[in-house]
Symmetry: C2
Subunit: 365 residues, 2 copies
C-alpha cells in the first residue's frame, strides 16, 4: 500500500479525523463536546463530522474552538445498537457510519471514530475499506490497564471474529506489535499467546501451532515472544501484546470490566458504611481520584480495528465527553505515527513468507 498523496501532505500541518456523530447511546452531544475538548488541546486537529446537519451545525456553532475546524456532512440515518450487520451492509448507505468510513476510504480523513454498533462498524469497515492484503481476519485491539511501564497492554482480538486459526493468531501478533510500537512507543514489544496455563502441553491444538508460528517469526517480525500467558497476565507486565481469538478475548475484556466495576461499587459502599467511613472518604478523595484516573475505562476508551486499509477507532457506546475525547486522542496518535501504512508494511513483509509456505503446503497435499 502506498500513502495517498493528499494524506502525506497534510500529516505535518494538520490531522483530519472523520467522526460518526450518531449511534452512541447518548446522541451527538457528548461526541461534539469530546471533539471540542480535544480541539482545545491540539490546534492541528480538524474534523469531518457525520449526522443530521441542523443538529450538528447548532452544536458545533456553540463551541468557538471548533470554528473553521469542523465540516458537517449531512446523513439522514443512523445505525442503531440493535441493527444487524447484514442489514446495514445492504441498506446502510445513508447512515452516518457509512459516510464517516467513506472519508477514510477516499483519503479525506486519516482515522474514523465511531461510538456505534461494533458488529455493523466492523462489517461496513470490511466492505468499504477492505482487508489488507494477506489479512484473513481483521481484529479489534484494546489497551488494557496493566503493570507495564507504559501502564497498558495491547490485547487482541476482543471480538471482531469468534474464530481464529494459527495463521490468524500470527497476524494478530504482528498487528498487535505494530500497534504497541506506534500507539505505546514500545520499541521491542513482548508478545504472549493466551492459554489456560504456561506449560507447553496445555491448551487447544491450534494454540500449539500458533505457538510455533509466532516463535518462528520472532526475528523477522521484530518482537520478543514470551510464549503462553494466562488470564492473570493480561493486566501484568509479562507481555505487552496479548494474542487470542475474538471469543476468548471478548469474554476476558468484559470479565475484566465487570470485575473493575463491581470493585468500584463495593468501594463506594464500604465508604458509605458509617459516619467515620464517610469522613475517611472525604480525606481519601484525592487518593481515590488518582486510582480512578488510572483505571478509568473512559480514559483508555477505544478499540482499534486492525487489518484494514485505514484505521477505525471504536469508542464505547456509552462514552461521555471524556470517553470520546480519549478515543479522539488515540486516533490522533495513530494518525500521526502513520500507523495505517506501517501496519500494512508489517503484515506484507511476513505475508510474503507465509504465502510461500502456504503454496508449498498446498502443493504437498
Amino acid at each position: 500500500m502506498t500513502a495517498k498523496p493528499d494524506q502525506s501532505q497534510t500529516t505535518q500541518a494538520r490531522t483530519v479525523l472523520s467522526i460518526d456523530a450518531m449511534g452512541g447511546d447518548r446522541g451527538p452531544l457528548p461526541i461534539v463536546l469530546g471533539m471540542a475538548a480535544s480541539a482545545e488541546k491540539n490546534p492541528n486537529l480538524h474534523f469531518i463530522v457525520h449526522g443530521p446537519k441542523d443538529d450538528l451545525d447548532r452544536l458545533v456553532a456553540a463551541r468557538t474552538v471548533l470554528r473553521g475546524r469542523c465540516e458537517v456532512r449531512h446523513c439522514d440515518e443512523a445505525v442503531s445498537m440493535t441493527d444487524k450487520p447484514s442489514q446495514i451492509m445492504r441498506n446502510g448507505k445513508s447512515t452516518s457510519m457509512w459516510s464517516a468510513l467513506e472519508c477514510v476510504r477516499n483519503g479525506q480523513a486519516e482515522v474514523c471514530v465511531s461510538c456505534g454498533n461494533t458488529g455493523a462498524l466492523m462489517a461496513l469497515s470490511m466492505i468499504r475499506l477492505r482487508k489488507l492484503p494477506g489479512v484473513n481476519r481483521p481484529a479489534i485491539a484494546v489497551l488494557w490497564p496493566s503493570r507495564s511501564k507504559t501502564g497498558f497492554n495491547v490485547m487482541l482480538d476482543v471480538g471482531a471474529d469468534i474464530r481464529a486459526d494459527c495463521k490468524d493468531l500470527l497476524q494478530y501478533a504482528l498487528m498487535g506489535v505494530s500497534y504497541a510500537r506506534n500507539g505505546l512507543k514500545i520499541s521491542l514489544p513482548k508478545v504472549g499467546l493466551l492459554n489456560v496455563g504456561t506449560e507447553d502441553h496445555k491448551g487447544r491444538s491450534e494454540l500449539h501451532e500458533a505457538h510455533e508460528l509466532i516463535a518462528q517469526y520472532e526475528q523477522s517480525g521484530d518482537y520478543k515472544f514470551v510464549g503462553f500467558v494466562e488470564g492473570s497476565d493480561i493486566p501484568g507486565n509479562k507481555a505487552d501484546v496479548i494474542v487470542t481469538d475474538g471469543f476468548t478475548g471478548n469474554v476476558a475484556l468484559k470479565t475484566g470490566e465487570g470485575t473493575a466495576q463491581l470493585i468500584g461499587e463495593l468501594l463506594r459502599q464500604a465508604f458509605q458504611y458509617s459516619p467515620l467511613s464517610r469522613l475517611a472518604q472525604l480525606l481519601a478523595v484525592s487518593s481515590l481520584q488518582r486510582l480512578r484516573k488510572r483505571i478509568d475505562p473512559r480514559r483508555v476508551n477505544g478499540g482499534v480495528f486492525l487489518g484494514l486499509n485505514g484505521t477505525v477507532v471504536k469508542s464505547h457506546g456509552t462514552a461521555d465527553e471524556t470517553g470520546v475525547s480519549a478515543a479522539i486522542k488515540l486516533a490522533v496518535t495513530l494518525a500521526n505515527s502513520q500507523f495505517s501504512q506501517k501496519i500494512a508494511a508489517r503484515v506484507a513483509s511476513v505475508n510474503t513468507l507465509t504465502h510461500d509456505e502456504e503454496n508449498a503446503t498446498s502443493e504437498a497435499e
Copy 2:
C-alpha cells in the same frame, strides 16, 4: 447411587473430612493451622490427614483443639506442582493426594480437600472416584464474588477440560444448579450460558445447541434459564450459575483475579502517595478492610470438582490458614447437605431423558 451406611450414620453426629496435607506451596503448616481454626468453630468436625507422619503428628499435637479429632495417615510422597497428571496416575500410589482421595472412595470421609496440583488432582479423582453415571466431563466450579443476594455466583467449568460440547454444557448447568442450591441455598437458581453477546445469533454453533438443550430441561431440571450472558454478567446478578467450557472459564477466572489484584495494588499505591493520603488510609482502614473481606479470594477459597462419585474441594496452592479454613468450611457445607448424593440424583434424572434421546438419534442415523 445409594448412601454408604457408615456415612449416613455419621452425618448427624460428625463430619469427617479427608485432608491432603502436602502439595500446597507452603507445606503442611498452613493446612494444620486451617484445620485447627475450623475445628475451633465446629465441634462436630473430624479429620483424616495425609502426609509425613512424624511432621504431622508434631504439628497436630501442638493444637489441643485437634486432640482426638484428627487421624494421621502416613504417606512417603507428595505430588508437586510440576508433576504431570499422567505420571501421577501411573506412579502416584504412595502420594498424600492418592491416600486422601482413597478415604472418600471407601466412605471413611465425606469430602476430600487438597491444595495440590489441579491437573493431577482431577486425573486421580477421575480414576479413583470415577465419573457419575451419565457424566462425560467432570467440571470445576468456583464461587465468584457478585452482586447477587448471596454475594456469589457459581461459575463452571473453570478448567477441568478445555473442551465441552452442548451435552457437556447441559450437564454443567445441572451440576451448577445443584451446587448453587446446596452450597448457596438458592431455591430456584438462574442459569446463564456465557457468550460474546446476549443476542440469539451470536457465538459458536455448539453454544446455540446448548442454548436449546438447557432451555428444554428448564422444568425437569428445576432452574430458570436466562439465556446467553456476557463476561460482565459473571460478577452480576443476572444469573446465579454461569456455564461455559473450561478454556473460556479458566481465562475468565484468572482475568478476574488478575484485575482484582491489580486494583488492590493500585489502591495501596494511591494511599501511599502523600502524607495526607496516608492519613486518609488510617481513617479509611475499616472501610477498606470491609471491602477486602468482601472480595478476598482467600474467603471463597475452593474450586469444587463436580460429576464424580464423591466431592473434592481444590484449595489454592498458595492458601494460608484463612484460605485452608475457608476451603474446609465449604467442604463441611457440602458434606452436611449430602451434596454428593443429590448431584448424582439430579444428573441421573436428566440422564435418563438424554440417554433415551441419544438412542433415538443413533437409531435414526
